[in-house]
């Protein structure tokens, strides 16, 4: 599977890296390739198989036809051979004996008798031009009378005369012209005397028309035909009479006619002709079937054309189907894509889900995701609004008139008593205090700024409240450049002053602000520790509970506000927690994330 995938992906890359990037194109191409390759393979192999079958059918047909010709010839010759059994008839032998003895007169009655007999025999079979008995002395009695024959010119006679009694088979000679000028072949058998001595022969002259009758109406294909050649490869029958008597080599080329085997053979001759050959054993003739392979090729071309047309139509249909199915599959995807594009601009749209398949599920999932995004955005907007609100409230707390007017009043007091140094410091502290509070509307400030803010606040407050308490700040150096949301420490310190150290009956109050980096937790930890009047454990627990549950900001406003802002900005794992300071007082622990300066 992996290999197939690799091949396909490479194929896609090779074909066209731009056009085939879409799923639709890939689908169409895959579909077309997957369906046409087997189709083409099928067509190719079936063409081969069909060609083979056709060729073999033609061969077997040719073979059958040749067999039939062979059989017909055989039947005809067999009939003649059977008739030739009459050669040893008493009258025949007597005629020959008397003829050889030169008894012309004595022979006369036999001559008539034979004449009559032979004429009768001639009518047994068609195509028999003459039936003759030839004596060793060259006298021949036939259907048309008695003649004298030049025995040396009669090959049949020579063949039979040279045979022994043990080789008493029928011999065939021809074709040759008969005394009337017609083309015949002769079938004859030897006639022996009482002492097995050769006396003469009985012979049939068969009109070559016989071959035409047997072979003439046979067609092998459109232009194919049957011909006969003798043992010297001379054509003895051909549908074109002018070729009869010519050498087969002239027609087919010398190389094609050598090495004939006995029985049936097939070979391809010149001009792409298929030559099928069978030897007609009695005459040692060869029955040759010639069929034109071009005809086969023409047939096959028709078939190929038809096949190609079917394949072409099928491929076109397949491509159309591929387009149809690709559209069917990719249209919902394209719609989904369009909807997704719309959603990227307007989150308040929904993808239309029309199908119940994977694409439909994808659309549903996408809608769910959109809904979730909307919800999260809404939540985020709400949280941001809330953060702004709490921030505004914190800011309002910072610049509450009481603090400002009292501080200004304090400054007037200091001026009236010429404490100029104190006035300078106080005004400077007040200025820095408000600058940090406002901090150009920035949400996040450095811990250094936050620390300075609370230090200025403490400076002013301590002047306002006399020497009733002292304060110290211990912030780890590496924390100073980290960032935090602003106005975290001041409300806690304010709380520590008004509900802690300022309530003490005697001076000696102390507010310690510590800042450390909890490296293992990756958190910034501030602690505002006072040794003031402290709180009941139950109240500490209640405040902690209020801090954990959001929305309780009306009570313990300062601490709640800080806690709420931290949690809105950084998450619920950060925030405030109160605990009792050992030996009296309250410790407020603030946890913040570590925010690097350069990240912001």
């Amino acid at each position: 599977m992996k290999v197939v995938n690799t091949i396909f992906s490479r194929l896609f890359n090779i074909i066209n890296p731009i056009k085939f990037r879409s799923l639709r194109s890939k689908f169409i191409l895959s579909f077309v390739i997957l369906s046409t390759i087997p189709l083409i393979m099928l067509a190719f192999f079936s063409y081969r198989v069909y060609l083979d079958i056709l060729q073999s059918n033609i061969q077997s047909y040719t073979s059958e036809v040749i067999d039939r010709v062979d059989r017909n010839l055989d039947i005809y010759i067999s009939d003649l051979v059977r008739i030739l059994e009459l050669r040893n008839d008493y009258y025949n032998v007597q005629f020959i004996k008397l003829s050889l003895a030169g008894d012309i007169e004595g022979n006369r009655k036999f001559t008539f008798r034979l004449w009559e007999n032979l004429n009768n025999i001639r009518h047994y079979k068609t195509e028999l031009r003459d039936v003759t008995i030839t004596t060793l002395g060259g006298v021949t009695v036939g259907c048309y009378g008695t003649t004298h024959t030049d025995l040396s010119q009669n090959e049949l006679f020579q063949t039979l005369a040279n045979r022994t009694i043990n080789d008493d088979k029928t011999a065939i000679w021809g074709p040759h012209p008969d005394w009337l000028g017609g083309q015949v072949f002769s079938v004859g058998s030897a006639i022996h005397g009482d002492y097995d001595n050769f006396l003469g022969m009985m012979c049939f002259d068969v009109d070559m028309e016989l071959l035409n009758r047997i072979c003439g109406n046979i067609k092998l294909g459109k232009t194919g035909y049957i011909m006969l050649v003798d043992d010297e490869n001379r054509i003895i029958y051909h549908p074109k009479p002018e070729l009869i008597g010519r050498s087969l080599g002239v027609l087919l080329g010398e190389s094609s006619i050598t090495d004939w085997k006995q029985g049936f053979t097939t070979r391809i001759g010149p001009g792409n002709q298929m030559i099928s050959v069978k030897t007609f054993a009695p005459a040692n003739w060869r029955i040759i079937g010639l069929s034109n392979r071009f005809e086969l090729a023409t047939e096959m071309q028709k078939i190929t054309g038809l096949s190609l047309m079917i394949i072409l139509i099928t491929i076109i249909v397949l491509i159309l189907m591929a387009f149809y199915f690709a559209n069917l599959l990719t249209k919902p995807l394209q719609e989904l894509q369009k909807s997704m594009c719309r959603a990227s601009e307007d989150l308040y749209t929904n993808v239309a889900v029309n199908t119940n398949d994977e694409i439909g599920h994808l659309g549903e999932s996408f809608n769910q995701m959109l809904a979730r995004i909307r919800q999260l955005i809404e939540q985020s907007v709400q949280e941001q609004k809330k953060l702004r609100r709490t921030e505004m409230k914190a800011l309002q707390e910072q610049i509450k008139p009481h603090f400002i007017y009292n501080t200004l009043d304090l400054i007037i007091g200091l001026l009236e008593t010429n404490k100029n140094e104190d006035v300078i410091n106080t005004v400077e502290a007040l200025g820095t205090f408000f600058r940090t509070s406002l901090s150009h509307g920035q949400e996040l400030i450095t811990i250094r700024e936050e620390t300075e803010h609370v230090r200025n606040y403490l400076y002013i407050q301590r002047i306002r409240h006399g020497d009733k308490y002292d304060y110290s700040l211990e912030i780890v150096e590496k924390l100073l450049n980290k960032k935090t949301i602003k106005l975290i420490l001041q409300p806690i310190v304010e709380n520590a002053i008004y509900h802690g150290v300022r309530e003490l009956e005697t001076p000696g109050g102390l507010i310690m602000i510590k800042g450390v980096l909890r490296e293992e937790e990756k958190k910034v930890c501030f602690q505002v520790i006072d040794n003031g009047v402290g709180m009941e454990p139950s109240k500490i627990a209640e405040i902690n509970r209020c801090l954990r549950e959001s929305g309780t900001e009306q009570r313990y406003f300062g601490l709640s506000n800080v806690n709420e802002r931290i949690r809105l900005a950084f998450g619920p794992e950060y925030g405030l927690e109160l605990s009792a300071t050992p030996g009296g007082g309250v410790t407020v622990t603030v946890l913040l994330p570590v925010i690097e300066r350069e990240k912001l």
């Binding site: 008139p401 009481h402 400002i404 007017y405 009292n406 200004l408 009043d409 304090l410 400054i411 007037i412 007091g413 200091l414 009236e416 008593t417 002047i463 306002r464 409240h465 006399g466 009733k468 008004y498 300022r502 309530e503």
Partner: protein, 149 residues
């Protein structure tokens, strides 16, 4: 001598109220201070205070609560409220309680002195009128007795 009570929770401002004006030179005495309403009430019980200057926002007992308590107890004195708040709510409350004057922070000590001196004069006038009335009443009483005798 006019008894003066300064009520202010913030030490620095209390110092300012107490020390930035030489109250004794203007004929005030005793001049006392308190950090909240409760402390003030304790002082009022012990000392003859004619003018009270009080802050509003204080721990334990606010200025408003203190004034209500003073009225309730029937102490006769001029009351001056000092506050950073200029809210209508406080002003309304103050008028309702028949506060003599309302001074907004921040203010120079001489401004307070002016106000306090004005009330001192008023008090002195009232006292003078009262003593004159008393003299007249005494004379009338004597004349009535003389006539009866």
């Amino acid at each position: 001598m006019t008894g003066l009570l300064l009520v202010e929770d913030e030490e620095a401002i209390k110092d300012k109220l107490m020390n930035n004006v030489s109250w004794a030179d203007y004929g005030f005495g005793p001049v006392l201070s308190a950090s909240n309403g409760l402390e003030a009430l304790e002082i009022l019980e012990k000392h003859p205070i004619k003018i009270m200057v009080t802050d509003v926002q204080m721990p334990k007992m606010t200025g408003i609560e203190l004034i209500k308590e003073v009225k309730k107890r029937g102490y006769q004195m001029k009351i001056i409220v000092i506050s950073g708040f200029a809210d209508f709510e406080y002003a309304q409350e103050s008028i309702k309680l028949n506060v003599s004057d309302y001074l907004l922070k921040p203010f120079a000590s001489k401004r307070l002195l002016e106000v306090v001196l004005r009330f001192k004069e008023e008090l002195e006038k009232e006292e003078a009128q009262e003593s004159e009335m008393n003299v007249l009443k005494e004379q009338l009483k004597k004349k009535k007795q003389g006539c009866l005798n």
